[in-house]
């Protein structure tokens, strides 16, 4: 095997390693099948062409796999559940402050002229989820529009729930 063939072969195996990483786990058998054929290709250029094709095939499979994601799979993505958790934490924060206010005889939550630490935390939680939400929409809306819209509806519900006490209690 000359230097050129060896180099091409090495590049082909590197491409194939990338293809194996790209392939969705449920299709890993197919990635193995493609890789094994690489050992039977004739020549370095042929191996390179085979491996490049396999990379394309794995990208197709990955794209198809992501398009077929269910709602449950998408809602488990950090970019989907983190904004939800932040809104619910903001709501819990207000709920906790309200209960604490009642227990200490301050009459629940009252508007302070100078915003207290709870108000700042609430604002941070609500504003902090915006970039995560934007990332989620950009990444998932083109791939699984229906499921992504369901998650966005959930997130909108959580945001409204966190904002409702501020509106109704005039905080």
């Amino acid at each position: 095997m000359n230097v050129r063939t060896r180099l091409l072969s090495r590049v082909a195996f590197a491409l194939m390693a990338h293809a194996k990483k790209t392939m969705p786990p449920c299709r890993s058998l197919w990635a193995d099948a493609m890789e094994r054929e690489l050992y039977h290709t004739e020549g370095g250029l042929e191996a390179l062409s085979w491996a490049a094709g396999c990379v394309i095939a794995t990208y197709f499979e990955r794209g198809g796999h992501e398009m077929n994601q269910s709602f449950a799979t998408i809602v488990q993505k950090p970019s989907a559940f983190v904004p939800l958790a932040m809104s619910l934490t903001a709501l819990a924060l207000l709920g906790g402050a309200y209960i604490f206010g009642l227990a200490t005889g301050q009459g629940g939550l009252v508007r302070e002229p100078d915003e207290g630490s709870i108000a700042h935390l609430w604002q941070l939680l609500m504003a902090g989820q915006l970039p995560v939400l934007a990332f989620f929409v950009i990444k998932w809306l083109p791939r699984a529009p229906k499921q992504t819209l369901c998650v966005i509806a959930l997130q909108a519900g959580a945001v409204l729930a966190a904002m409702a006490p501020v509106y109704f209690l005039n905080l």
């Binding site: 197919w30 039977h40 094709g53």
Partner: protein
């Protein structure tokens, strides 16, 4: 969810090659050479046909020592029926064109 069986030009080529030796297990690289389909086209097609139950696959021990096992493919009974249907649907227009060309 598996996509519906299709009769694209690539699928037809693959079926025609596999119909030549319907009982023989065939490897991806050999299929690629016989069909002139690149791996990037062939494997998504093989995967789809396998999902649809038209193709069966199995790992086979290598022919030469030192080489890893290979994944081999064969049409299933339903795959054979489908491939023959696709082949006949393709053959008849050609036949019709030939007949039309021969008519004075």
């Amino acid at each position: 969810m598996a996509r519906k069986p299709n009769s694209s030009a690539q699928a037809r080529t693959l079926f025609s090659v596999m119909l030549r030796q319907p009982r023989t297990w065939q490897y991806g690289y050999e299929l690629s050479k016989q069909t002139s389909l690149r791996s990037g086209t062939l494997y998504p097609l093989l995967i789809r046909l396998s999902d649809q139950g038209l193709l069966e696959s199995q790992w086979q021990e290598p022919e030469w020592p030192g080489k890893p096992p290979r994944h081999a493919y064969k049409l299933t009974a339903s795959g054979l029926t489908f491939a023959r249907t696709v082949a006949s649907a393709t053959a008849f227009p050609t036949l019709r064109r030939k007949i039309a060309g021969a008519t004075p």
